[in-house]
């Protein structure tokens, strides 16, 4: 069984009866290796559809937790259980509860650095005082407003108040939390949150692959939220200097916000500035200054230094890309695709209203970017398969689109592997309108294929 990964959270969904034999059959060595390779920020095992488990049944997953955690500093644990299951797990692992327990998947995502919706009012209670404090700190760090009940009576009283809290947390336990550098995306800027002492460990906790993928898909502004950094040593200085140098190749900018130099040598700042890093006191100094954002590349990625032409390998493999795209969209919409035209040129989009787009990069033996431009109707139809109903919720449609383009990327990867071409895919990116897409691709030459699905026009664009 493989984990389903969404927004950096990988979830296993076993079903039925989980004893030792079943767990070992569910989770092979290859599955564990694949989970490590996925490099998710959080790996969970949902017990929602497990009606029976025993200690042996959970042990296989706990072993997997240890491996994933050791390799990637990932937060790991079980989720989606009732009180009876919670009691059983805490009893089984009384002296060795090194993983986390989240009552629901939604609760788990509150502790994930990739969680998009912040500012949740959260009532929380745990019998264990240190757990209460740990949860409150994590939630606060992730941008929420935790309210701690100190006693069961206080919790019962507070929980009675209708609509006072977005989420109530009980029967949750934080094991060793992930030590990864928290990441969030604001517009076209990526914000990393760093804290306490920055030393050589930053090389392990910073997800360099995510960062490189972000550069590949067109992000150009990276902000380190460093309000909570106490000090930095020379190893961290070297790390950030190198990061900035490599970002410069993409014409990307790295900034630090809120970093104070009370306990960090002042000359470090000069060194970092020499390598191109900028310093700001407040986050709003950047995010609220549209002019500055434009200069730093966060509102436009058109200032890419290296415009690269399509190469022979990309063109040779073009049919694979188109097949993968068409097959995926046909599968998701259950409609037949008709290829209308193909040309090598700058991207040309006739209909811009009610059109959304997504892109995914690939790199390895060959590199480039696939851009898919959808009429909203096709995206909505694809949503119907994944969520089971029609929706006009734009965020949900964009999320689905990201899943769809992820499937396309996965299929491309498989098809190319059949031709002994090894590539990795980046995170998918979505665009609410065509103008934001054009900022990325308007001056790039590529292959444009116009397709029609039940008379809805759809554009496929492959570029480098």
């Amino acid at each position: 069984m493989r984990a389903v990964v969404k927004n950096g959270v990988g979830v296993f969904n076993p079903q039925g009866f989980l004893d030792g034999a079943a767990s070992n059959a569910i989770l092979s060595i290859e599955d564990i290796e694949a989970t490590v390779a996925q490099n998710a920020d959080m790996v969970l095992v949902s017990l929602k559809k497990v009606i029976f488990f025993n200690r042996n049944g959970l042990d296989a997953f706990v072993k997997m937790f240890h491996k994933v955690r050791a390799a990637n500093h990932t937060t790991v644990g079980f989720c989606d259980y009732d009180f009876k299951k919670y009691e059983a797990i805490t009893k089984f692992y009384k002296d060795d509860l090194s993983f986390s327990l989240f009552k629901t998947h939604e609760v788990a995502t509150l502790f994930s650095s990739n969680y998009k919706n912040q500012n949740k009012n959260i009532l929380l209670y745990s019998e264990d005082k240190s757990q209460r404090a740990a949860m409150a700190i994590e939630l606060h760090d992730n941008g929420h407003n935790p309210i701690i009940a100190q006693t069961q009576a206080e919790f019962d009283e507070k929980a009675k108040v209708e609509n006072a809290y977005d989420i109530i947390i009980t029967e949750t336990y934080l094991g060793q939390m992930g030590q990864k550098v928290a990441t969030r995306v604001t517009g076209n800027a990526i914000i990393y949150t760093v804290s306490s002492f920055l030393d050589a460990e930053i090389g392990n906790t910073f997800n360099i692959e995510y960062h490189n993928n972000s550069l590949n898909v067109g992000f150009r502004l990276f902000i380190f939220d460093a309000y909570k950094v106490v000090s930095m040593n020379v190893h961290a200085l070297n790390f950030f200097s190198k990061l900035s140098t490599s970002a410069a190749e993409y014409n990307a900018t790295i900034c630090f916000v809120g970093l104070n130099f009370d306990k960090t040598p002042k000359e470090f700042k000069d060194n970092l500035e020499d390598s191109g890093i900028m310093f700001f006191e407040q986050m709003d100094d950047i995010l609220q200054d549209k002019e500055l954002l434009r200069e730093l590349g966060a509102s436009s990625a058109a200032n890419i230094k290296h415009k690269r032409a399509l190469n022979k390998i990309t063109v040779t493999e073009l049919p694979n890309f188109i097949d993968a795209t068409v097959a995926t969209i046909e599968m998701m919409t259950n409609s037949q695709a008709i290829k209308e035209s193909a040309k090598v040129d700058d991207i040309h989009i006739e209909k811009r209203e009610n059109t959304i787009a997504s892109s995914i990069g690939f790199y390895g033996d060959m590199d480039g970017m696939v851009v898919l431009i959808f009429p909203k109707e096709i995206a909505k139809k694809a949503c119907e398969l994944l969520i089971g109903e029609e929706t006009d919720d734009t965020e949900l449609i964009l999320d689905t689109l990201a899943e769809l383009v992820n499937i396309v990327g996965g299929k491309v990867k498989t098809l190319l592997a059949d031709h002994h071409i090894s590539v990795d895919i980046t995170l998918p990116r979505t665009y609410l309108d065509i103008s934001s897409l054009l900022e990325i691709v308007q001056d790039k030459k590529g292959v444009q294929v116009d397709l029609s699905f039940n008379n809805d026009k759809f554009v496929f664009f492959l570029t480098r």
């Binding site: 969904n13 034999a21 059959a25 569910i26 009606i51 994944l386 499937i407 996965g410």
Partner: protein, 265 residues
Amino acid sequence: MITKEKIDYYIEKIPPAPKALKETLMHLNSGDLVKAATVAKEDRALNNYLKVLVNKPIYGFKNEVSEVSQIFGILGVSRSQQAVYNYMLSLLSPSKWVLFKLNRVVFYNLQADLSMNWKKILEYLSIEDKDILSAISLLPASIIVSEALFAEKKKDVTLLRTVHNIDLNTILKRLCGVDLFDISQSIAQKWEMAENISSIIQASSGVKPANDAEINKLGKWMHLLLFYTLSQPRYIEAELNDFIDFQIEYVGDIYEDFSKLMEIS
């Protein structure tokens, strides 16, 4: 990917029950085991199937049973009917499985495991009805139908399921408006199986509770039995564990009884 037309075509090409089987079932229905065995002897494949099935360890016979008349005699009317239905369903199974990592032996084992435990359940519920006993034979139809419809699209389905937790039954329902259990029902109708067999199978999906309380109760037991069986390592390895969604809430009220009966601890 999968269209309603493809499903209609699939149902259409399901052959009607062979004449010998129909006659065998007719005699079993009237309780005449001797005539049933005489007709069944004409179908060598049925003979062979019954021999393999009843000699599986789960049936618990000490000595090998080889004659059809002997098999029917030992099994009795109800279980003989169940065994013949199991055979009919096996006729639909592919010679080579693609979507699931199955083969003939594992599939027959699955039929045997389900049949024996269903009998145990019906005894526990004090139900003596040969059609209800035979209903379990139709349950693996959902597996055969999944294989037939999704095998060509295995890679696509696998990719889809790596980014979204969705089962095959839901995919089919959302794409075509019918699900695996509707198609299983069509098979039952084509083979003129008793109507309550179809009703129990529909309820056993866990997503379509029946209005009839008795049918619904049987549907719950069958749903839980299916997932109990599919949680065995050999079926997990065959990738059968998550092809449909386990509806844990649906079976909540019978779980205690089920776990006692199956001695789960």
